[in-house]
Structure formats: C-alpha cells, structure tokens
Symmetry: C2
Subunit: 195 residues, 2 copies
DNA sequence: ATCCAATGTTGACACAGCTAACATTGGCCC
DNA sequence: GGGCCAATGTTAGCTGTGTCAACATTGGAT
C-alpha cells in the first residue's frame, strides 16, 4: 500500500546515504539510486536537500558530531593526559580504518571548501576544538599558538599516515619485517612526540 | 585545412589533460572537453586511451617521474644528508602548493588502487625509492625496516600537513600569532625528527 | 470543511563516459 | 607505382547522473 507521502524521507535519505558511504565511499552515493531504493521518484530528494552536496554534508556533519562526542568520552575516561591523548589518536585511527568511506567524506572531500554548510563548518570546528583541548591538557600553561602548532603537527602525522595507507601508497611495506602493528605504534609515538 | 589525422593526438591529449589538472584538478578533466578543444571527435581519445582513468594515469605517471628526478637532483646538490633531507621535504611541499591539482591526482586519487597502470606503479615505486634513499643517507648503518619506518613516519607528517591544508581543515590557523612560515618550519622539524 | 504549504511525481535537459559500426589514410610490400 | 592493412578518426547512440520546472496530492491549521 504505497503512500504518496513517505513519512520521513529526509531521515531515510540521510540513513541510506550514510550506509552507501560506509560501503563504497562518497562516490557511491547517487541521488537517483537512493530514491529508487526508498521507492520514491528521482526528484523527491530535492524537496529535502538542495543538491547532492547538501546531503553528503549532512552525513559528514553527523560524523563530526559523533567524533567530537567520542573525543570527549575518551578524555573523560582517562585521568592521565598523555594516556588520554594516545587513546584519542587511536580513536582517530579507528574511525579511519573502521569506516574508511565516512572518513574520506569527512576529510578528503571538498565539502569543507567554498560553499560549505554552516552546520558542517560548526561540527568540524567543534571537532577541532575537542582535539585541541586534548593537546592543551598535556601542558595547560602553554600559550595558544603553541597548542595550535602542536595540534597541527601531531594531527598531520596521524592524518598523513592514514591518507598514505588509504591511498594505497604503503602497499607492501606493512608486512614482515615491519608489521602493521609496529608501524601504528611508531606513528602514535611520532604523533605525540615533541613540538 | 583540417586533416583527418591529427598528427599526435596522444601527446596532445596528455598535454591538455595535464593543463586541465593544473587548473582545476583531476575532476576538471573531461574527455569530451579535451576532444573538443583539440578539434577532434568525442570518441577519438579512445583510440589512444582505454578510458579516462588511463589518461589520468599517464599524467600522474609523468608527475612521479618528474618528482623522482627532482629528488635525485636535490640529493646531488647537497653534500650534507640532513640538509638534503630537509630540501627534499621542501621539494614535496613545493609540488603540493605550486601544483595542487597534480598533487591531488598523484596522491589523493584512486589511480594507485586496484587496476593501476603498470607504468604508474613503477613510477610511484621509483619515487618512493628515491625518498627512502634520502632517509637512508642520514644513517647508512640502519637496517632496512628502520629506514622504511622512518620514511613512512616522516612522510606521513609532511603528507598529512598538506592534506589538511588542502582539505581546508586549517583555515584560520595559518595567521597571527602562528604564521604559515612558522608552521611549515615546525612541520619540517617534525618530519625530520626522531624515529 | 477549506485552503495552503509541504511533499511527491512526471518529464525533460545537459553532460559525461563509453561503445559499435563505419570511414579515411599513411606507409609497407610486391 | 599500386594495393592492402592496421592505425586512426567519425557518427550515432546507449547508460547513468544531477538538476529543474510544472503539475499533483495531502495533512494539518484555521
């Protein structure tokens, strides 16, 4: 008994798009496909999202909100700032390896570029703030520029490793005599080390 | 007096594609567009490249060949291994900031994934070898796994910084009191530091 | 009960990658 | 020199995708 009105097409679109991103990354999201899956016409999604980009932005935004939440949970769970920081880094790695599609959407798309959604900008900013707070906690007396610098350099190491792995640039290296686990620990060490 | 045969369509396609990549990144390359620009039918490019991916692979391959060449030039120009290494890192940054489109094609596309061109794989591998050699030069006695580990962690820092900048994730931070130049030096320090 | 704003549909346009079938041509071989 | 063939180019068309304008339906506020 198909109804004319879907009920909550908006939420359904976000959910399906999210699933598609998890499966095949941002490229795998086709508005026409989603519409077909949800038994709705190809133009229906445009009643809820200005364009494809807007839908993907919402998916990415949710990812950032979740990430921020997880950052804060980890911070609360660990009294030692250094341990907390290392776990925060592990969390980031976990997101990247467990949900590579979502990770790519969040960090390797042009969604944050010109024309970015306000909501996405805020969510990404909040995520940055939580990360930065974790770094500050290790040295509460440091001035803001130092905290920013340390956050960026550390984050760069972590993020670069992920980017290289996911770009297939490290194929053949993550094996004996250099195991993946060793490499991850080395990356964590460098992420947390120095300035 | 338009001739039926172009003369060297293959080379012309690579050249135009290269220009398009420099201007607007990989997404800006449309086979139909290139064909139109070169005054040739839309199907003509398929006589020289199996598909769009193959053309882009050739452009990327040339980028890697050039990069490897530049790595070797830098190595030859500097007697001090540490100085050479820092200049090598600067070279990588220079490529990323001077030719962001080409950089994205080389390092942030799926060209290296399944179905990669043999030529591209070789060129990318050679590039890695040159980078790795630069790292080894700083400590010739170190065992291979250590060299690989150091190359990966250092490269990760450098690469991640670029990825974050180009992803627009660092907007608003590269300004007073933390200037871009300071940040770059900090990244170079971390890239070259430790294990 | 009525009306309207929200929501959905139909039909279309533009553009992109790609392919099959056909056309032209330059260079090799006799 | 003349003929043949493989390389190279063209035409026409398919599929898939984002997007939009015009029209249809409906649920809920008045």
């Amino acid at each position: 008994m198909p109804r004319y009105h879907h009920g909550d097409l908006r939420a359904a679109l976000v959910q399906e798009a999210s699933a598609a991103v998890d499966t095949g990354g941002p490229e795998a999201v086709s508005l026409r496909d989603l519409a077909k899956q949800l038994g709705v016409s190809t133009a229906a999604p445009y009643r809820h999202f200005a364009d494809r980009r807007a839908l993907l932005s919402e998916v990415a935004e949710r990812g950032f909100v979740q990430l921020t939440h997880d950052y804060q949970r980890v911070a609360a769970e660990h009294a030692d700032p250094v341990v907390a920081q290392r776990e925060t880094a592990r969390l980031y790695l976990g997101l990247a390896f467990r949900k590579p599609g979502l990770f790519r959407l969040m960090f390797a798309s042009d969604l944050l570029g010109p024309g970015a959604t306000p909501g996405l900008l805020k969510a990404a900013g909040d995520s940055w703030s939580a990360l930065s707070a974790s770094v500050r906690r290790m040295d509460p007396e440091a001035d803001p520029a130092t905290i920013t610098r340390r956050t960026i350099t550390g984050w760069s190491t972590l993020h670069g490793f992920i980017a290289l792995v996911q770009g297939g640039r490290l194929k053949g290296f993550m094996t004996e005599p250099l195991t993946e686990a060793e490499l991850v620990e080395a990356i964590l060490d460098k992420t947390l080390s120095g300035d």
